[in-house]
């Protein structure tokens, strides 16, 4: 069959010249547009945190197990000035989207109470902005050794002039009101990027519903941020009741405590911010 110059038939081997020209123009347009679009879409992203999840690398840490209000491994810093006890706390987090408590309960079911004992544990480090967590990746097998608390780790009460943390009990910093976003520390510290914001919201809900303690992240817009673990006023977890406020702008009021290098906010006052007119309109429409 001879090729018709003004009519295109797809099953012929060749398209007529005018059609070939049009397709060539379309291809050239795409060849220019596709790289530009790919470049622009990448270039204009907000960027990602420098948080680190040491996936595949296990680290062994030794410290005192703190179970309440949130699970920590409290690691003593050796050779301090004036022998004043100084600690760094590593937040303990379970494997997958779970809090550490299920693993800790398994350990205690096997070995009896572990709170305030020195534990040697193995896990995957997650850290960002000076805050660190340890994922108990191996769950039951993550606990390597248990020993009594060493004499040197028991705090003494002197050398206040060095502003070290002399006490095992956290320091009360008074009542505060803070605005920010509630997310889960596991993702926020480096497992996911972004680990906060709208697209990540459902994941943060899943993590917090799974027992990971919620974290309020507060930012001032110029790279200055701080993070506050959130619990009920009596120190109980508030994971279940806070789910609806995860991943959206909220204002929290409560008592702030410093637990070594972490801040813990005891609160039952969570207020959603940035309610939109559209939302109010839809509420009226729903007769609520």
């Amino acid at each position: 069959m001879k090729t018709e110059i003004d009519f295109y038939i797809g099953w012929q081997a060749k398209a007529p010249l005018p059609f070939r020209r049009a397709v060539r123009r379309a291809i050239i347009t795409m060849a220019v547009t596709v790289p530009i679009l790919a470049g622009l879409l990448v270039w204009k992203q907000r960027g990602f945190s420098g948080g680190v999840f040491e996936y595949g690398k296990l680290t062994i840490l030794e410290g005192e197990l703190i179970r309440t209000p949130v699970p920590f491994l409290r690691i003593p810093v050796k050779q301090t000035v004036g022998n004043v006890p100084l600690f760094e706390r590593i937040l303990l987090i379970g494997y997958n989207k779970r809090g550490a408590d299920s693993t800790l309960n398994q350990w205690e079911a096997k070995r009896g109470t572990l709170a305030n004992k020195t534990l040697t544990v193995r896990g995957t480090l997650i850290y960002h902005d000076g805050k660190a967590a340890l994922e108990l990746t191996e769950e039951n097998d993550a606990l390597l050794r248990v020993s009594a608390l060493k004499e040197s780790d028991v705090p003494t009460h002197n050398m206040a002039r060095f502003q070290l943390s002399p006490s095992a009990s956290p320091v009360n910093l008074g009542m505060v009101t803070l605005s920010g976003e509630i997310t889960d520390p596991k993702c926020m510290l480096g497992v996911m990027k972004p680990g906060e914001g709208r697209p990540h919201r459902s994941c943060a809900v899943r993590c917090i519903a799974g027992g990971i303690p919620p974290l309020l992240s507060v930012r001032n817009g110029t790279d200055h941020a701080n993070y506050y673990l959130i619990v009920e006023p009596d120190g109980q977890p508030l994971n279940a009741s806070i789910l609806k406020d995860v991943g959206r702008p909220v204002q929290l009021s409560g008592r702030l405590e410093k637990a070594d290098n972490w801040l813990i906010l005891y609160t039952d006052s969570v207020r959603a911010l940035a309610k939109t007119k559209l939302d109010e309109g839809s509420q009226i429409a729903m007769c609520r």
Partner: protein, 140 residues
């Protein structure tokens, strides 16, 4: 294409032409309010000593050596501009015999630590104690 299908196409796109711009405007008006900026609460700090003896710039931070009048007390002020992405930062003062810890650093902000002696040339190291790595050395 049948006239009915063509008509359905027309209606579908007219509907989308109305709905999508509405959705666009509605979704964009959510955006500006969605990010909350607030000054985070800093930890209670000892007041900085009034006299700045020396200042050193290091990667991501500024270290100041401070004193009060003619007193022998020396204070280390560290202004962390960009936090170090490591699991642990312990601040240690280096002497001939040992490296004594005077505190820890975490988020960006200002930190004050009293120094154990009155030298105006202390050497400070920042140590990642989890990995046993010296992160930075500050020479005054």
């Amino acid at each position: 294409m049948t006239p009915t299908l063509r008509q359905t196409h027309r209606v579908a796109w007219l509907l989308l032409a109305i709905i999508l711009p509405m959705g666009f405007v509605a979704a964009l008006q959510l955006k500006p309010d969605s990010i909350v900026w607030e000054q985070p609460i800093s930890l209670p700090l000892a007041a900085p000593l009034p006299v700045l003896v020396k200042s050193v710039e290091n990667t991501g931070l500024q270290a100041n050596l401070r004193r009060e009048g003619q007193s022998t007390d020396r204070q280390l002020e560290i202004i962390v501009r960009q936090s170090l992405e490591v699991p642990s930062v312990v601040v240690r003062v280096v002497s001939r015999t040992n490296e004594l810890a005077i505190g820890t650093l975490d988020v960006a902000g200002v930190y004050h630590f009293m120094l154990p002696d009155s030298t105006d040339h202390p050497t400070i190291i920042l140590v990642d104690e989890v990995n046993h790595v010296v992160l930075q050395t500050i020479h005054f």
